[in-house]
Structure formats: structure tokens, C-alpha cells
């Protein structure tokens, strides 16, 4: 049983005469203790999906359960109690601008009726966790983006939630700060056992911290699985597009010779610091020619694809494929 279970979820918006479908037939579970990523292009419905996990938005049909309780069946006050078990952070941080850092962190405790002294103690602990102890009297406007997000994380953790929802939490941050926030989230996940749901459009975020990933496109889940598996060989079109940074299947146009076999190699940022093709040729002693290459650097990592023409000998073809598999390079034959 997942800590959050989503079943047949559909969300439609009424816009004058036509219905806009934001999400359709979404079903998946988020397991306790994992870091679950949801990736998709803008407009894919990610933010709507995450907002239904704490019922900030209500589904048109379908069910969202938290720890086995259907959120639709809860009274307002029960729902508010559940929300204290589900922290949330946002792209734009959403701190109280007119309130000091420490008061921002005590805010969720204050509205839960926890005494001032206890709240301050807890807030100081959390500010220590996010490494902002020296900023407790500052106001948010004096902080950098990364510091603001750390305050937001401390605030979201104040009520000791079981789940932390992150809605594009690193999208407004530079790569270095993103890295810091992600390691903080990982720390929160491991040390405090908080289940984390990450919504993002950045593949690198998923790759760095997530255990499992769901790929959302055009209101539906196109693909879901362990991050390792999905990254290695994405099955959906959108998955390939997001992971390889280019359209993999369709757009490459070259004249195939009849009877020849072509192999597509995908680089996902892990292996391109090695001269993989040169190594392959040296080790397998097989001659291949490059037919097409398209790689690019995305956030410091090389992603892309390479299409090679295989030797005619099927024995050699097998050697090449085996080599690639051993080296951790995804490859498949071009149809």
C-alpha cells in the first residue's frame, strides 16, 4: 500500500463552453519513504496533479488517498489535519514577506495551536537543519533564492509531515543552488524518513534524487518506473524526448541501405566522459561507421544519440551489443 494512492484521477476545467482536460485517468501509488518524481513539459498537468495530493485542488473524478483515507470523505477539519502531515514547497517559495525567517517557520506551528516556546525551539532546530541559524531575525527579502527555499523547507517540515510535496522547487534556482536544495531534500528523506514527491521539468533533478519517476504528457501518465530503468531505455516518445534532449525516433532522416543494420546509442549524461565508441572499436575489433550524431550539453552533462552502421556479420553485431550493454549504454536497433 502506498502512502499516497491515486486512482482513476481526472481533472477538467470548465472554460466557457469547452472543457479543458488537465489530467486524465491517472493511477499510481507513492510508496512510503521513497522520492518520487513527476516530470513533464509545462502544461502537462504536473502542478494540478501535485495539488490534488493535498486537495488544494479537488479532482473531477477519481480518488486520492493518504495513508488509506480517501481525501474526498474527510471533513474540512480532518482535511486540515491531513494537510499538517503533508508539507509543501513551491517554485516561488511563498514565504510571508512581512514576517521574519523564524516566524515563517513557526507559522504552521502557531496555526496548529502549539505554544510559542515549543514552536521557537522546533523552528531553531529546523533552521539549524537547513543551515540558516544565523538568519532567524532576517526578513525574506534579504535572502537569496536558495536561502528562501531552505526557509520554505524548514517551514514545511515544522509540523513533522510524513510527505513533502515539491512543486518545481528548484526551477527558479541556478544549477549550484539546485544541487544544494536537492541534497537537502535527500537528507530530509534519509534522516527524517520523509516521503518526497518532486514535480519538475528538469531531467537532472529526477536523475539526481528520485527513486521512481512518472512521465506526464498531455494529461496522462505515459511512463512510470524506477529512474534507472526509465533513463536507460525510455519507452514513451515523451520519455525519449525528455531524456535524450532531442527527438530520437522520428526526426533523424537518413537513407538506410537495404540489408544493413543500424544501432542507436543513447547517452544520458553518465558515460560520455569516456571515449565509448573508440573503446568499443578497440575492444571488439569490429568496424562500425557513424551515421548520425547529435549530442548536446545540458546542465553540464552530455546527452544525445549516435547512430552507427553495424557490420554485416551477425556474430560481430552481437559482440557490439554485448559490449554496449556491459558499458551501460542504452542501444536499440533502428527500424
Amino acid at each position: 500500500m502506498g502512502i499516497i494512492e491515486i486512482k482513476d484521477l481526472t481533472k477538467k476545467y470548465h472554460n466557457h463552453d469547452n472543457d479543458l482536460i488537465a489530467l486524465q485517468d491517472i493511477t499510481f501509488d507513492i510508496k512510503k519513504g521513497e522520492i518520487f518524481g513527476i516530470i513533464g513539459l509545462s502544461g502537462a498537468g504536473k502542478s494540478t496533479l501535485v495539488r490534488m495530493m493535498n486537495y488544494l485542488e479537488k479532482p473531477t473524478s477519481g480518488k486520492v488517498s493518504f495513508e488509506g483515507r480517501d481525501l474526498a470523505m474527510l471533513s474540512d477539519s480532518e482535511l486540515r489535519a491531513v494537510r499538517k502531515d503533508i508539507g509543501m514547497i513551491f517554485q516561488s517559495f511563498n514565504l510571508l514577506d512581512q514576517t521574519s525567517v523564524i516566524k515563517n517557520v513557526t507559522f504552521p506551528l502557531e496555526i496548529s495551536g502549539i505554544g510559542k516556546k515549543e514552536a521557537m525551539e522546533r523552528a531553531r532546530e529546523l533552521l539549524k537543519l537547513v543551515d540558516l541559524s544565523d538568519k532567524e531575525k532576517e526578513f525574506p527579502s534579504k535572502l537569496s533564492g536558495g536561502q528562501k527555499q531552505r526557509v520554505a523547507i524548514a517551514r514545511a517540515l515544522a509540523t513533522k509531515p510524513k510527505v513533502l510535496l515539491c512543486d518545481e522547487a528548484t526551477s527558479a534556482l541556478d544549477p549550484k543552488t539546485t544541487e544544494q536544495i536537492l541534497s537537502l531534500l535527500k537528507k530530509v528523506n534519509i534522516e527524517m524518513g520523509v516521503t518526497i514527491v518532486i514535480i519538475t521539468h528538469q531531467m537532472s533533478v529526477i536523475e539526481k534524487v528520485c527513486d521512481r519517476v512518472a512521465i506526464l504528457d498531455k494529461s496522462r501518465i505515459e511512463e512510470i518506473g524506477n529512474v534507472k530503468d526509465v533513463f536507460k531505455s525510455p519507452k514513451s516518445q515523451i520519455g525519449q524526448k525528455l531524456i535524450f534532449g532531442a527527438t530520437v525516433n522520428k526526426d533523424v532522416d537518413f537513407e538506410k541501405e537495404v540489408g544493413k543494420k543500424y544501432l542507436r546509442l543513447a547517452f544520458d549524461g553518465d558515460v560520455t566522459d569516456r571515449p565509448i565508441l573508440a573503446d568499443m572499436i578497440l575492444e571488439t575489433k569490429c568496424r562500425v561507421s557513424i551515421f548520425y550524431a547529435n549530442t548536446k550539453v545540458i546542465e553540464g552533462k552530455v546527452v544525445g544519440q549516435l547512430i552507427i552502421e553495424l557490420p554485416n556479420d551477425s556474430e560481430q553485431q552481437k559482440i557490439i551489443k554485448d559490449y554496449l550493454e556491459r558499458s551501460g549504454v542504452s542501444s536499440w536497433e533502428v527500424e
Partner: protein, 216 residues
């Protein structure tokens, strides 16, 4: 030469009318403004019926010229303060006129609060009441003070109009001595005094607004 004492009494009366009316108007206007904000289409508890009704009432009161309202509510004034002349008697019409105006000012200040912050509070399990008192009214404080500067100086302007019906204050002096007796000197002095008071109130409230804004 008009007695200096006359001006002092008039200034006192003007301040009395303006500040008392403003205070009462805010006591009425803040809840009204919150109600307008909350029941609006994208508010905390959207309610088209309540919003439209309230909005209509507010607009009706705002469209009645103050001088007309002053006379229209005379019976009510009589009941509340027991008289229809003097500075005291101007307070009820000022409040009736200013409260809807302030309600709109408050509504617009609350609308400036970033929706994301409200969403964050909701995600923490805050009740609507907590969102109003601890998020909306707090986050919009600088804007509320700027609104107060505008509202109070407007009320001051209205209070001067009350002179037309013997309401006391600087407006009263301006009309009785300056206009009816055609004493240009009195006219000029009262106008200058009014300008100074408006400047004073405006800069005090803008100062508070600036000081209270932690974003700066």
C-alpha cells in the same frame, strides 16, 4: 481680524471629526473589505450572491455625493448623537460615506497579496480565519497604510464640506467667515491650514507604511 482661538477650535474640531470618523469607518470597513475579498470569485469562500449584493450596496453609498448624504441621513444622525449640528453631528454621515470607500480600499489591498502565499498557508492546514488574520491582513499591512493615508485625507476633505450645514471645523470657518462674510483672509488661512493638515496626515501614514514594509 478673526480671533486666533477660532482657528484653534476649528483645527481641533477638524481633527476630531476626521480621526473619529476614520477610526469608526475602519472598524466597519475592514470586516466589509474582508467579506468582499473572501466572497469574490477567486476569494477564499466564493459566494456570488453575497458578493454581488454587498458590492451593489457599497457602490450605491459611494455614488451618493457626500453633501446629499449628509442631509439624507439627518434623521439617523439625530437618533445617534442627539443633534444635527456641530462636529459630532458630522461623524455619522462621514462614517456612512467612508466605510464603503474603505471597504473597497481594504479589498484592493488584500487582492495584492500573492495567491501563492495563501496557497502555502492552506497547504499547512490553516483555516480561512487564520488565513485572513495571520496572512492576508499581515502581508497587506503596508498597502493598508497607504490606503489609510488616502482614505483619511479624503475623509478630511469631506469633513470640510460639512461646514455647509454648520458642522464645525475648518470648513465651517471657511464658509461662515470666508464665504458668507467674504473675508478673503480667513478663506486663505483655512485653505492653507487644510493643506498643511492633509500633508501632515499623508506623510505620517506613508511613513508608517514604509516603516512597516519588510520587503524594503
Amino acid at each position: 481680524m478673526v480671533d486666533l482661538n477660532l482657528y484653534i477650535v476649528a483645527i481641533k474640531e477638524t481633527f476630531f471629526m476626521t480621526l473619529l470618523s476614520s477610526a469608526i469607518s475602519y472598524i466597519i470597513g475592514i470586516p466589509l473589505g474582508v467579506l468582499l475579498y473572501s466572497t469574490a470569485k477567486d476569494g477564499l469562500t466564493p459566494n456570488t450572491y453575497v458578493y454581488n449584493t454587498l458590492s451593489l450596496v457599497v457602490n450605491i453609498f459611494r455614488s451618493i455625493p457626500f453633501l446629499i448624504l449628509l442631509i439624507l441621513v439627518l434623521p439617523i444622525t439625530k437618533v445617534i448623537v442627539g443633534t444635527t449640528i456641530g462636529a459630532k453631528a458630522v461623524v455619522p454621515p462621514l462614517v456612512i460615506s467612508a466605510s464603503p470607500y474603505i471597504a473597497r480600499m481594504v479589498e484592493s489591498s488584500l487582492k495584492e497579496v500573492d495567491f501563492g502565499v495563501i496557497e502555502a498557508a492552506k497547504s499547512m492546514g490553516a483555516t480561512n480565519m487564520q488565513i485572513i488574520t495571520k496572512v492576508l491582513l499581515k502581508e497587506s499591512r503596508p498597502s493598508l497604510f497607504i490606503g489609510a493615508a488616502i482614505s483619511i485625507t479624503t475623509i478630511l476633505g469631506y469633513s470640510a464640506m460639512a461646514g455647509a450645514v454648520g458642522g464645525g471645523g475648518l470648513g465651517d470657518v471657511a464658509i461662515r467667515y470666508g464665504y458668507y462674510r467674504y473675508n478673503q483672509e480667513v478663506m486663505l488661512i483655512t485653505v492653507v491650514l487644510l493643506v498643511i493638515i492633509v500633508q501632515l496626515l499623508q506623510s505620517i501614514f506613508m511613513g508608517i507604511a514604509r516603516k512597516s514594509d519588510k520587503r524594503l
